[in-house]
């Protein structure tokens, strides 16, 4: 009789299904996982240590690079923590803009998740569909901040600038026919809000497209139903948050329970799973796509009707307008002090959390009264999720590890920080 023994399998850090630089050391009994030991830190950049050496404002761009598929939500968590320390009240219009862009970001993130999760599990087409829509949303990012991904659009006290009146259009070029360009520019004739509204109107139909490919798909269900089941009790015990906790049947969403920005003024529902498996988490996230669209529509409506300031007028915190700076001595001094030194919040500590697409993204800031954070701790949602890897895959097959990585929606920018 041949000798049967366990063996160790090294999964990643260069593996297409590892979603970045995850190294998994798997102890296997045949094809069954006995123990999974994720090795992380391959993308560790010490963001928190870097933040300690910079004024508060200069850390905002680092936030984009944490979870690089839900950029603005991370910014939101950080600026909220600093605003709490400073005691700043954000103008209402800025709150609505933040709410709208948080939801745009949620759609961006969930599309990325849906595409890659489906690709890992074996469905190619969804990936292409999802990236088609991501392109439009990234154009929204670009229109408002100038950058497609790392926007640095949220600032302490509001947002960098108001929404543009004109949506940028494609120029005619040698690589595309004029008819093609005209078709692409069709929805870009008006303002950014018009473009976003048009997107919000057609997006539910596109979600239906993704669902026809997956929701009742036999293979998709075989790969996800009953995989990686987490009970509500375990979800709490393992520090889960976001769709991971809602998939297990707990109706917990910071947007409802501890509302921030304008979430207490918009109408939306929280989808909740039943079985706590990968399939339920898939359903929760797909429904979140629809609910986000609902929130975006309400924000567009409000933003059309209510012009106003988008950042606090206090020039100790927000820079004065460029033209004032050119002609007014005091504005010039404010500008100089703000960008060379920054502002000093009172000594104290604050924790602010937002419902990022992946779960609770929190920033714990300790200030000693200086112009730099004394300590910044970033609570990344993916970190405790990945920590539960061992528990979630134990007893499953090797192929299910890929499904579980997909369902966790891990991004190493935020886990390794």
């Amino acid at each position: 009789m041949p000798e049967i023994r366990n063996y160790t399998l090294n999964f990643g850090p260069q593996h297409p299904a590892a979603h970045g630089v995850l190294r998994l050391v798997l102890e296997m009994d045949g094809e069954v996982i006995e123990r999974a030991d994720p090795h992380i830190g391959l993308l560790h950049r010490a963001t928190e240590k870097l933040a300690e050496s910079k004024p508060f404002n200069q850390t905002i761009p680092y936030m984009d690079r944490l979870d690089y598929v839900s950029m603005m939500c991370s910014e939101h968590g950080y600026v909220m923590a600093v605003e709490k320390l400073l005691g700043v009240q954000v103008p209402m219009r800025a709150k609505y803009i933040r709410t709208m862009f948080d939801e745009i970001t949620r759609i961006l993130n969930h599309l990325m998740w849906l595409g890659t999760h489906a690709l890992d599990v074996g469905a190619m087409t969804v990936f292409l569909y999802a990236f088609r829509e991501r392109e439009d949303l990234m154009d929204c990012y670009e229109a408002v901040s100038g950058a497609r991904m790392h926007a640095a659009y949220y600032r302490v006290g509001g947002v960098y600038r108001d929404l543009p009146e004109v949506m940028p259009r494609y120029a005619n070029n040698q690589f595309r026919s004029d008819a093609d360009i005209a078709r692409k520019n069709e929805t870009r004739q008006g303002s950014l809000l018009d473009f976003i509204e048009d997107f919000a109107n057609r997006f539910p139909g596109l979600v239906d497209e993704y669902e026809t490919l997956l929701t009742d798909n036999r293979i998709w269900k075989q790969r996800t139903v009953g995989i990686g089941v987490v009970t509500p009790e375990r979800a709490k015990q393992l520090s889960f948050s976001g769709p991971m906790v809602r998939g297990s049947g707990l109706a917990w969403d910071l947007r409802k329970k501890q509302p921030y920005a304008a979430y207490d003024k918009v109408d939306f529902d929280i989808p909740v799973g039943v079985n706590g498996d990968c399939y339920d988490r898939y359903l929760v996230r797909v429904e979140e796509l629809r609910q986000s669209t609902r929130i975006i529509k309400q924000c567009v409506q409000w933003l059309r009707e209510n012009p106003g300031p988008v950042i606090v007028e206090d020039h100790k915190i927000s820079p004065p307008a460029r033209d004032y700076m050119k002609g007014d001595m005091e504005s010039l001094i404010h500008h100089f002090k703000l960008f060379t030194e920054g502002y000093c919040p009172p000594a104290g500590e604050a924790y602010a959390a937002v419902e990022a697409p992946k779960g609770e993204f929190g920033c714990y800031v300790v200030s000693d009264g200086s112009n730099k954070p004394f300590r910044l701790k970033i609570r990344a949602p993916g970190f405790p999720h990945l920590a539960a890897m061992d528990e979630m895959v134990k007893g499953h097959m090797l192929a299910d590890v890929v499904a579980v990585i997909g369902t966790m929606d891990v991004v190493f920018g935020e886990i390794d920080r």
Binding site: Q237, S239, G342, G348, Y351, G362
Partner: protein
């Protein structure tokens, strides 16, 4: 509507503060309420017993550990640039990096572990802080109370060198295999101690002392800002 939600949250947390004071003040815990958040400083020896009660007691039900992290308080409140009086060295852009004297803080107030708890049942948050010895930073692990503490404690060990007794698998987590030192301590330089490159002569990757010069782009400044006087008084009991 925002106003009512906020006041409700504040009422809840004020009640929480009162409950905590009533229950734990006799054990040497200090409870503060600032910026809408409740913080309780727990003596190290009571951490496990109090944490278990906070999780299981009907009045608290802090079933989820949101976050746990280390904090190094060395150099707290020290600045690199005098702002109160004129400096004798003149107004120059090149400010030397302030060398933090780690022995300036007392034995028992340099390192702390900060836990953020969440009670979904009562919709409340609570922050716990426990100080550990600077020379022998050892603290009881809360992994048996909240399983999610596993990686958070590994991270605090990796970055601050705080040891968690009773942790099942206390290994480094974020730094490289074979890394020396605890990088988030305030006396660890931002540039690090070693740099790595491929050496063609040896045909392998080698480590050598770091060649970057430390520099200060923006000096650390503490300004007494009058706008925040009321906030500052409220927070003076913190930290």
């Amino acid at each position: 509507m925002n106003e009512t939600v906020k006041t409700k949250s504040q009422l809840r947390h004020e009640t929480l503060q009162a409950n905590l004071v009533e229950r734990y003040a006799s054990k040497g815990c200090v409870v503060t309420f600032a910026l809408g958040e409740v913080t309780m400083v727990i003596p190290r020896e009571h951490l496990l017993s109090i944490a278990t009660e906070l999780r299981d007691d009907e009045a608290f039900l802090f079933e989820e550990l949101v976050d746990a992290c280390g904090v190094d308080y060395a150099g707290y409140g020290e600045s690199e640039w005098m702002t109160q009086e004129a400096s004798a060295a003149g107004f120059s852009r090149g400010v030397d990096r302030h060398i933090i004297d780690v022995s300036a803080r007392g034995e028992n107030d340099r390192f702390a572990v900060v836990y953020h708890l969440l009670s979904m049942a009562h919709n409340q948050r609570l922050r716990l802080r426990t100080f550990v010895d600077a020379t022998q930073p050892i603290i009881d692990s809360v992994v048996d109370i909240w399983r999610g503490a596993d990686w958070f404690e590994r991270e605090a060990f990796d970055l601050y060198g705080i040891m968690f007794s009773g942790h099942p698998d206390l290994r480094r987590i974020l730094t490289d295999y074979g890394f020396v030192g605890h990088p988030f301590r305030k006396d660890f330089p931002l540039e690090g101690n070693v740099q790595m490159r491929y050496d063609a002569e040896h045909g392998r990757v080698i480590y050598e002392p770091v060649s970057l010069d430390p520099r200060v782009l923006v000096p650390k400044v503490i300004r007494e800002d009058n706008r925040f006087v009321s906030n500052a008084q409220q927070d003076s009991t913190d930290a």
